[in-house]
Every structure is written in structure tokens, then in C-alpha cells.
Symmetry: D2
Subunit: 354 residues, 4 copies
């Protein structure tokens, strides 16, 4: 209700502010008897954590997950999985400069107005730090639906765009460079762009594409919980996301039905896949693919006009260590949210037939 839970059966509830004692969450509804690989979960967290490469924030957070319940002798027990991640970087003094100022295009103003109070230290609850909890839960979801392959990658940074379809790319190369783009030459340009932008004290947007393969037919619940509607909500709930499209997406609006329709073949598969693996809100067994738009990070190292909590005009400048482009670190978050959705609908679908 208050928005801190996600999922129907396989559900995640999170808590925590960026500069409180810890963040964490509770995963409920994970079936019992799943052998968990804890190392893999930590590795997913490491893909998201700050300081991992030259082109992301240089803030240092170990982001070590500590499981408190729900796992016994290496297996899930069917009871809720509680976990915490301590906040190592609690330098509250750093944040006095934003205590009384509303940073442009941040959530300072809206939180203050909605709640009448806010933890102003580093964004508090509105910080993207919260997504670490999603990565933990997503890593468990991935293990639950191990046959389903979920792979995201950076498909654009500013105007540098991968112009190939996902099936023309070798997605195993995604993790081979800092920007997480499987097209090596494009990746090089992206990295260059990010470095240049950072030198300007500026930031840049981008897109993450995601492909889900080996999906069973039948996932998704009509009519409001269509599979792509749930995926869309999942992605739009990630910080800085401005758009979502799947299959033919916005480009499909310019097409005619005769070219857009995916003709069935004898084996039930389709010749084309403009549907993006989903028809009527239910997976049809073809690849699911979608794009997620991320805006440029709001914190820039340039002077900006703003107002303070008294409504007076002030000038401010970002401090500290921030991402010049959120996209490389967003790749594992997109995968995690996709995994949460797929695991939930996978379980739900187990009871669709008598």
C-alpha cells in the first residue's frame, strides 16, 4: 500500500535510507527447498556497487549482504528471507549543504511536501541505494527460475547508440567492458563520452535493453497484470527511468498490421517477433525484449540556481562522488527487476489450470 513492496507471490519489501544504519528487505513467498548460491548473490551486488570502475561513482561501499533468516543448511525453508546491507558511508556532515536546499530534479521538494519531513542526507529513501535490495532479491529470483535467461546491456549513452538488434550481438561480451555494452566498438565510444561528460562536471542519459529467453508459454495474468505491464511498472520504479517499450515499441506505431503481425509457424513459434514474446499479456515462448530509458543523473558538478526550504532563490553545486551516467550500474538492476517479475508470474502460473 505504502509502496515499499513488490510482487504478488514472490514478493519483496524493502526498507532503508542511503545514510541510515542499514538498508534491507524481506523476500516472502520463495518456495522451500531451493539450494541457494550465496556467492552468486553477492556477485550480482558487486555488479551494482559504487566504485567498481573508472566511469562510475568513486564512492566506496562494500555492499555486503547479510542474510538473517529463511535459509537453513543452504536451502530456502519457505519462510521469509530477511537481509540487511550496512551503510558504510555514513558521512552525515557531507550533507549539511543540502539540508535546507531543494536540489533540481531530485526528490527533495516532493518528499518534503508529501511528508512534511525528510531525511536529507544523500537523498534518504529516494536514493538509488535502495536498489541494492532489489538486486539481492532478483539474484534469488534468478536462481528460482534458473532455466529462464535474463540478460540486460547498455544500448545507448547519450547519442551513442547500438544500432544492432539484440540477436545480432554476442551478449556474453556485456560484462567485458565497464559500460556493459556487448558491441565493443560502440562500448569504447560510450566510455569516451562518459569520461568527457564527467570532465565537464555534467551527466548524460542512456538506455538499457533487456532480453529474456527460454520463457515458458503462459506467464502473465490478464487483464490488468499483463506480463509487459508488470515489467513496465518494474522498470519505471527504478530511479531515473523515463520510459519503457517492448517488442516493436514506439516504432511499431508507424507500422501496418500486415507487416507487424507475427505469423505462426507449425511449431507454434512465430516468423517475426514484433510482439516481443508477449501476446495478450501472456508469454508466447518467443524472446521477450524491451528498452528502458534513463535520464541524465540530476546531481551535476556545476553551479545551478535553486530554492531553499524557505522558498528563497539560492545557488548550489553538487558535491561528493556521483555517477556521470547511471546506465552501466543500472544493467544489473534491470535484470533484477525482470527476474522478480518473471519469478512471480512463474509461480502464479502454476495454479492457472485445474
Amino acid at each position: 500500500m505504502a509502496g515499499n513492496s513488490f510482487g504478488n507471490i514472490f514478493s519483496l519489501t524493502t526498507f532503508g535510507e542511503s545514510h541510515g544504519k542499514a538498508i534491507g528487505g524481506i523476500i516472502d513467498g520463495c518456495p522451500a527447498g531451493l539450494q541457494l548460491n550465496i556467492e552468486t548473490i553477492q556477485e550480482e551486488l558487486n555488479r551494482r556497487k559504487p566504485g567498481q570502475s573508472e566511469i562510475v561513482t568513486q564512492r566506496k561501499e562494500p555492499d555486503a549482504v547479510n542474510f538473517l533468516s529463511g535459509i537453513f543448511e543452504g536451502q530456502t525453508t519457505g519462510t521469509p528471507i530477511g537481509f540487511v546491507i550496512e551503510n558504510a558511508d555514513q558521512k552525515s556532515k557531507d550533507y549539511s549543504h543540502i539540508k535546507d536546499v531543494y536540489r533540481p530534479s531530485h526528490a527533495d521538494f516532493t518528499y518534503q511536501e508529501k511528508y512534511g519531513i525528510r531525511d536529507y542526507r544523500g537523498g534518504g529513501r529516494s536514493s538509488a541505494r535502495e536498489t541494492a535490495c532489489r538486486v539481492v532479491a532478483g539474484a534469488i529470483a534468478k536462481q528460482l527460475i534458473a532455466d529462464i535467461k535474463i540478460q540486460a546491456y547498455t544500448s545507448s549513452v547519450g547519442s551513442i547508440v547500438v544500432d544492432k538488434s539484440y540477436n545480432e550481438l554476442d551478449l556474453s561480451k556485456t560484462e567485458m567492458n565497464d559500460v556493459r555494452c556487448p558491441d565493443e566498438s560502440v562500448a569504447a565510444k560510450m566510455i569516451e563520452t562518459i569520461k568527457a561528460i564527467r570532465k565537464q562536471g555534467d551527466t548524460i542519459g542512456g538506455t538499457v535493453s533487456c532480453v529474456i529467453q527460454n520463457v515458458p508459454v503462459g506467464l502473465g495474468e490478464p487483464v490488468f497484470d499483463k506480463l509487459h505491464a508488470a515489467l513496465g511498472k518494474a522498470m519505471l520504479s527504478i530511479n531515473a527511468v523515463k520510459g519503457f517499450e517492448y517488442g516493436s515499441g514506439f516504432s511499431g506505431t508507424a507500422m501496418q498490421g500486415s507487416e507487424h503481425n507475427d505469423i505462426f509457424q507449425a511449431d507454434g513459434r512465430t516468423a517475426t517477433n514484433n510482439s516481443g514474446g508477449i501476446q495478450g499479456g501472456i508469454s508466447n515462448g518467443m524472446d521477450i525484449y524491451f528498452n528502458v530509458a534513463f535520464k541524465p543523473v540530476a546531481t551535476i558538478m556545476q553551479k545551478q540556481a535553486s530554492i531553499n526550504t524557505e522558498g528563497q532563490e539560492v545557488e548550489m553545486q553538487g558535491k561528493g562522488r556521483h555517477d556521470p551516467c547511471v546506465v552501466p550500474r543500472a544493467v544489473p538492476i534491470v535484470e533484477a527487476m525482470a527476474a522478480l517479475v518473471m519469478a512471480d508470474f512463474y509461480l502464479l502460473n502454476k495454479i492457472s489450470k485445474y
Copy 2:
């Protein structure tokens, strides 16, 4: 859980197949004491109904809503509002040709696989007929939050695109033409395009844009139920939708932070509105605006290859009266879903402060 409910507090649960006895729904959580204008509700339904103009399906359905409960002496009583809309057009014989065939890019195959059974008559539950119930509930939601102004319009049909921003348009003109585009000269071209496409027995996609004005600050629940995530899910749950973007959307990914950031003015409003009226998932009082992508209608009046339920290749052709372009009739549906989201978050926000 099974996907036929929408909303947290102000909630809608719908039922009904396109060719069953009736469709209908239950609206729960509408506060008591709201004086309802029933005529206005029926007018919204009329904006969606088949046969209203030359460029939509010529199927005839009166789509008259019949309220069964929850309203007493013209006012809501706080108890659930049940309603039904009878299906006048129940010509089951028309559908024998698709009983054993999977129509391309429809939900026939996925429903059959998911449930092992499907009501094949006219799409059954997967038919867009279900959206009539959303329009009923949305019309009540609009009356609940009467100060908030929700206006959608057709912003593209195929490659015919309105190239002005919503605030350069006179949205009061939207209902003055059949395609529901407030830019009259563009509207004429869109209508022409749709007529030409229909002559070919083909269909075409398009986009609907929506603007929400006079929004109180504070609507939206972090972190998973961000206002735009809920709007996105709402839109993506509408039949034929392939994408959603708000504010700067996909175009914002190519921007730098220094140009994308919306600078606050002394009155708390922002100089630009790339944020699309939402920051950190919470409304900031500026206009909310977003685009929704619709694919071309899957039913075309041309021969297409397909398979039957035995997996044999067959040739099929659409019959009956279908929309050549779904966008004009989708305008009120987009508004209705937006109203459901806004009403729900409006009520939720009433309890955010002690």
C-alpha cells in the same frame, strides 16, 4: 492476484468476455457522499463505443451501463458500486472460423496454452471490449477528483505526427474531429490515412498523449509505486499498448544533466518540466504528461498464413467489423486509466502525514 483488479484504495475489478452475456465490474473504495452525474459516465462510454464515426469499427453496441449498487439517491454510499453492460452483439456463429485457428498477434494461442480452454468468440476475455468497464470506473474517478484535469488526444497515426507540444495545442478541440487530434490540419491527414489503410484491408498504429493538470503536490508512493510507474502499468495494461514514456521520455536519454534539470523558481514551480510533473515518483504540482504507443490492430482483412489448434498450417482472413486504427477510441480509455491512478493516489496521500 489473478489480474482482474486494479488500484489499492479506489479499486476496480472487472469481469466479462466480448461475447458472453455481459461485462461489468465492481468499484470498491469510492468515498461516500460523492454526488454522481450518471449521464457524464454514459457520455464517456459513448466516446469509446463502436460505430461512433466513419473511421472506427461499424459494429453496433449500445454500451449502456447499468448500476446495481453503491449509489443511493444520487450519491455514493461508500459501499461497492456494481455495474453491468450487456453484450448486445452476441453473434456466436460469426466466430466458428476462428474456433480452431490461432489468429496472428492475437491472444488465442497464449490463452489456449495458459488455460487449456478459451472462449474463442471474438477474443473472449482478451477482447478490448473489457476496457468499457475501465471507462465506467474512470468516469467516476474523474468526478471524485474533479479539480484534476485529465485530457488525452491522438498525437500520431502511423507516420502522421503532431509535432507540437501539448501546451502549444488547444486541447478543447480534441473532440471536434473523429480522430480526436486537437491539431485540425494534422487531424485531417490522420483521417485520410486511416480511410486509405482501411481500404487496403489493413490497419495502422499510433500514439495517444495525455496531460494531467492541476495536480496536488505529493501523489505517488515510493519506492515501487512511484506515480509514473503506476501510470505506466495502467497504460501498458490497455490492449495493443507497446510503450510508455513520461516527461522527457526516451528523448531525455540523449540529454545532459545541465540541460535536463528543471530549475526551481521561487514559487516552487520549475522553469522547465522535463520531469513531467513527477520527481522521485511523487507529483510536484507541474503538468504530468506522457505518451502511449499503440500497435496496429492485429485483425486485418487480408489473407494471412497461420496455424490451427492441431498445429497445422492454414490460411485465414479477418471477418466482421474491426477498427482500422485503435487510437481514436483509445483516447477515453487512456484518460480513464489515468483517472483511476490519480484517484487512488489522491486517496492514499490523505494518510501520508500524522
Copy 3:
């Protein structure tokens, strides 16, 4: 949220006032492919309907259920099952005498205060007429979990009490008398009591006992959704219910652990069953049994002091045709609510293991 829905996966949402056009509901989450016996559903409704015998209200309502969706060629399709039951007995004129008066121990006062408006005709939403919808849904739930046997019966009327345990009774005799008590000699006394009470223009309370047999091990979700907590809520949500106890119940509070503990036998069954078939909130395969307390009906045919909506003291007297004792008609309602709970937990338990 607003309280008109019940169940997690197998869910029921109801609408309707006693003297509106109709009551009805939507059953969501019923698995596809269940062959439904519609006649059996109507028979369950007939067990609840007014006018069925000498000792219940003589009001006449056909209570014919009309299914509008979700069933195709006799089978459930996995889509929501919408249904309505028309209100035949809509004599609004009968209710002018209570328009401005708060009947003692009815919900008139609380509804008026909560909502500022109420449909005063015959109790409106607070009327037990609403339970007809529960019986419809319960009858479908019974068919879904056909192996589980749910049998309720009248175990007391006023001070006339069945002093045998359920397993000393022949429950197949329950429907053989008007009061639905399987102990024939006790039944005769109960009927006599009810008739005498009615002559006085008074009413009387009673208890319904319910036995659920052939239950699979494993139903119930710890820790808040223990099977007996869900059963308790289900029963307490029925009009006029004042208490719920299962297994040893209140009498178990006077026992010592050494006599109360149910010792396991080699086959996993227990020698005694003070646990009432549930341990730690999860069914253990033994019989589930519980008692439900019903207060005397509030509408009596005697003069009573009360107040009107202006707060003035008035004298009033019940009119019309009312039950002198609610218990005989409550038996099928108790079974229906039990069936809803068991079906829901049956489906939930299908996904408890990996």
C-alpha cells in the same frame, strides 16, 4: 482494502444492497478447466434462501443466480466469474418507518456515522442478504476441492445444545429437518423453541459447528495467515457472529499440556485431536472442527425504545418477515466461507515447495 473482497488467490468480491436492483460478485483466481455443476450451486443457494421452512423468515426471494462470464461450455476458463442475483423483494415503501430511526443492535447508526449516508431500505449493505453471494462462491470452491468434505450443522439454539461430539453424530441427517441439526431428538426441541420464541415476537441465538474432513496436510500460511486465523476471520465476517473456537477451543484453556497434547501415531495421525486438525497454523490431516456463535437476531416484533437520526428518543417496533433464529439458514453460509478459505489455501499450498 474497503473490505468487500475475500481471499488471496481464489478471491471473491461482492456488491449489493438488500433492496437495490441486485446483489452479485466476481470470483477471481478459479483455475481453468473445472467442470461446473450449476445446479448444485443453485441448490446451495436454496439452502440459504428465505421462505424455505416454517421456522425461517417467510419473505419470498427466488435467489436465482445468473452467471455472466468465466464459464464456457460448462467449464471455468480461468477468467473472472461474474454473477448477479436479482432482488425480487424491492418494496421500498416498507422501510419508511426506519428511514430516520436507528434500530437497536443493527448497523444503522454505525453506517450513518461512518459514511454520512446510508441506504436505509432493509439494512442496505449491512443486510445478511449479501451472504447469498458467498454461498455462490463457496459452492464453486466446494467443487474445486471436491475431495475435501465440509459439513456444518446447528449445534445449539438458545439453551438447547447437542451434547455429542461431531463424530458421534450422523451428519448425513443434517438436512433432514428444518433446523439442520443431525441429532433428531434435539432438533425437535430446537424447532419447538424457535416456534415458541417467534410467538413471543422475540428471537434467539445459537451455534453452528463445522467439520472439514479429508484435508491434505500442509494448508495454511504462517505466521499471520494461519489456517484457523483465516477460518476465524471468515466466520466472524458473517452477520451476527460473536465468537469462534476450533479444536479444544475455550474448554482447552482449562486443560494441562499433558492431557491436551495430541500424541502422534506411527502413521502420522494423532491419537486425540485437541488440535482440531491444525498445528502451527497448518493442517495436519486430521479433521478440522470449529464452533461459531450467533447472537439473537436484532429485529424483534416487540416495542423497543430507540433514537432517531436527530438524537430524539422514539419507540419503534420491527415490521415485516424476519428470522426468529438465524442459525438454520447460517449452516450453508458457514460451509461456504469454510470452502472459500480451504480452496484459497489449497491453491496457495501448490507453490510452497520448489
Copy 4:
């Protein structure tokens, strides 16, 4: 869904096994701006904790709550309140004797069957240790609805019963003795009884009564979420509870309507209160009162027959430090669950009128 969450708007999700690293929870939906008294919360926990008196388990657990989020400068921020309570008493070696044995009337057998795996150490998730989290959340709920007074007390231990109504007692004396019974002479007998029972290595049941005063009119949501149905579920979800009755309860079943009806007085209050402060599922402003039945603790210090996980008959005996009677420590748990229900419905009711 998986049963570890409670509440609609003011919600609690808990995690943790008795002998894992920690237990804890997330409170979501607490309005922002509530000044919290943390000491009071810890005091409530102390009322529940082991080792507090001679007549409860002598196990030592500090039960210190550690808040991790959602509170800033002493106030709630509207974001989720995460907390943990470390398990000090993690002597896993103590539990080898029950690893392969199903303790009579415990949840060992049902958890094993449901999940195929269980954390056998001290009851794991089925341990009443989990209720400490409820007390934390309940203590916050109490502060949110500070005007509503919630007081529980021990009303029976075995056959030693307080034979006065709550309004004949001085409830301020409840905390003055170890058994938490406000009737001093009865309290002395109860304590004597518990001590005698413990000497036998046995246990005994009892009842807790609870009174809620100064309740606003209008709390409770018809028809499935009646206030007493929610209270009933809350109580029945507490470990060892076997029954719930409110107002006239089971004794009301023997009454006639003419004596049971609560006659309104000019001020809207009623002359009697058989309704227990709730009419039609909605609070009427009178005192709410109810009884909760607790069975005797299942762990006894006597030899008992049982079976092991192989289905072989074994003899076993309880070890360690257990409560001879759960009722004294249950008093704060009953209050906490009542507070959760009242806070939730208090918030819900804020949006019942337009």
C-alpha cells in the same frame, strides 16, 4: 500472500526464526511526523520478554530492538521502519534431540510436510519468539492512536477465573503482579497454580481479556473486514490461541433478542453493550471487549510418546526452559495485535467520506 504480512495501510511484515541470527520486521504505512518514544517501545518488549518473572521461562534474551530506518530526528518519515532484534540465545546444540522427532502438538510435523525442510532449532519460524516483532510494531501503533486506550489482562489460568466484568476491575493494577491479573486475590491463586503445574513438569492454558476504550465511531470495513473479524484474525494468529469471542460472545447465543439488544440513549451511546462496541462490523464508540483462549503450552517436562521423521515410534521429553503458562507473556502480545488492527482501521476510515 505467504502469510508474513499483517495489515492493509499500517502494515507489518516480519521475518526470523527463533535460533537464526535475528528476527525483525518492516512497518510500512506509518504516517510521517509521528514523534516516537523509543523507550516505550522497548518497555513493551520487556513486558513480553523471557525471564521477567518467576512464573515464565527462565531463558535469557535481552530482546533489544534496533531500528534501522524510517525514523529521523525522533520522528517517523513516512518511509518504512525496518528493525531487527538479535537472537542472543543461539545454542543450536540444545536442539539435536528434536532434529528428527516430531514434538506432540507442535508445528514440527506440519512444517516438515508443507515445506519438505524445517529449521528444527527451537521451533524455528513457528516459535512464539516471532511475536516480539509484533510487540514492536504494536507499540508504534499505540503511539499513532494514542487517544485509544488498549488494555489486556489475564482473565483465567486453568480453572482459576476472574468472575468480574472488566468494568468492575481496576485495570491499572494489571502490571502489579507477575500473572498480569488486575484482581489481586485471583492473581495470587493463578500464580500458585502456575507454580504447582510447573513442579509437575506440566503446563496449563488460560484466557486473556482485552478492552479498547475511547474508540472513534466508524472503524471497520464491511463486509469481509468487519472490525471484529480483523481483531479475531489478529488474535487467532498468535501462537497457541484456540478461540476468540467479543461482546456477549458465546454466552450471547443463549440469549433472546429482547434482552440482547442494546438500546440507544439520546447521546447515541447504548444502555447495555452486548454488541461489544461493534455493530455491523463498525465501532459504535462504546467499549470494545473480547476474550482470547490460549491452550496449554505443548512443551512439557514429562516423557511423551511420539514419532520420528522416519515414522518410528519414540519416547521424548522436553528440555530447556519453557513457559508453564503462556498467558502472562501473551498480555502485551494481545495488546500489540489489537493496536495494529485499530491503527490500520483508523487510517482506513480517514478516507471513507468524500
